[in-house]
Symmetry: C2
Subunit: 239 residues, 2 copies
Amino acid sequence: MRMLSQAVEDYLKTIYKLQGEDRVATNHIAAVMEVSSASVTNMLKRLTRLELVDYASYQGVRLTEAGTQVALEIIRHHRLLETYLKEVMGFSWSEMHEEAERLEHHISEEFEERIDEMLGYPTHDPHGHPIPTKDGKIAASATQTLAETEPGEHVVVHHVSDGDSDLLDYLEGAGLLPQSKVQVVEKEPFNGPLKVALGGKERVIGREVAAQVFVRPAIHRTTASGTVASSSAERTETK
Amino acid sequence: MRMLSQAVEDYLKTIYKLQGEDRVATNHIAAVMEVSSASVTNMLKRLTRLELVDYASYQGVRLTEAGTQVALEIIRHHRLLETYLKEVMGFSWSEMHEEAERLEHHISEEFEERIDEMLGYPTHDPHGHPIPTKDGKIAASATQTLAETEPGEHVVVHHVSDGDSDLLDYLEGAGLLPQSKVQVVEKEPFNGPLKVALGGKERVIGREVAAQVFVRPAIHRTTASGTVASSSAERTETK
DNA sequence: TCTTATTTTTAGCCATGGCTAATTCAGTGC
DNA sequence: GCACTGAATTAGCCATGGCTAAAAATAAGA
Ligand SMILES: [Mn+2]
Ligand SMILES: [Mn+2]
Ligand SMILES: [Mn+2]
Ligand SMILES: [Mn+2]
């Protein structure tokens, strides 16, 4: 396939993220990408010619298999870059995302390979999002949020929303990053705050924040030393 | 200044490299950049509107002070990136240059700052080319080549040409990289090969290769331990 | 079913940055 | 001073990817 432009790659990535079971609406893409609907229609026609999407006027759009592979390749770049920028280069949450958003379109396969190796072939980025493999497979993510978790339940943070970097700074301070073990102690009614226990301390967090924290049930097991360890069930269904 | 495109940045960089004392010709830029002369004229008009060049029809072009600063900023990115890609990420000579050529247009000031710091604020890239400072100053380079060096002269390799990566691989194997101490032993006439001494061994190299190796006279001094050390006179005139 | 509201597309415009072919300019030789 | 030649510019085209405003299609409500 001929070199794809940054614009084409960003459209494919956006469609990938918006498409669940059903087709994605023109206006939806326009809203997320902050461009006019007319621009979206124009691009969808070109993506159709490139056989990267399956599109019919007024019927919305879906990625073809080829389009999906391109989207996953870009997402792989993005997530490997974020991991590298944060772990190796010490970028903050906000800088990291912005930088990865640009560089994802400009690194070579060689560069991708090097950072993957330097990072020890990570499977998840700093947000806890799965990193697609080189051959375009991606692990499933957790769908349960901390806000939906019932008091008494023991969970492990799987991933956190990557939309708001101020939120990420807050979550980092609160210790609510991927791998953290959390227990919900209490939930105030009427969408009130949650009292959670983590790292031996109790802490109150708002319902909105809790809805951005995705969790998996913790698995309890007794270690050789007799202490109780827990971790999330890591299902790696590739869908 | 508004965000400049990759094309604009590459034109400025090319003009910077071509301009010595006098103005640069349209055809010269076209040849180096492998675009048509018409495209160059078109771009020069736009660069003029942006006040990045001083251009008059049929009279050639020169960078303005603003244009020079942009060019130096891009060259700084390029050379810091090359150093990082080679030293930290283990890229080869050929991959390194290609990668830097693209990434130089897409890294943030933050990224530039981080790699500068991680590298310990280097003054020269792996070719021995000076890295412009953040405030747009650049050290002078050596102008004498090994081919011009007379037998008996002791010199230190200052920088090597960065045009041909196969040549760079060869020079690396020959030990003719920046900082290497070399003595010309013999020069065959009629543009014949040179016999040089370096690292305690003698070696024969072609005149063409020697013309791509830039050197400075070695300064001899006696160390405390009695051995003789030499290094090049590092003049850092910023021009 | 018919009207209305919403979504989407079309039409037409613009900037960027390429290209080829035709023309114009500047310098050299006569 | 004039013709010639090579360099440079102009004219006119194209693809990409934005935009606004108008028109058309679809979905929803009475
Ligand atoms: Mn991100
Ligand atoms: Mn992007
Ligand atoms: Mn280079
Ligand atoms: Mn470049």
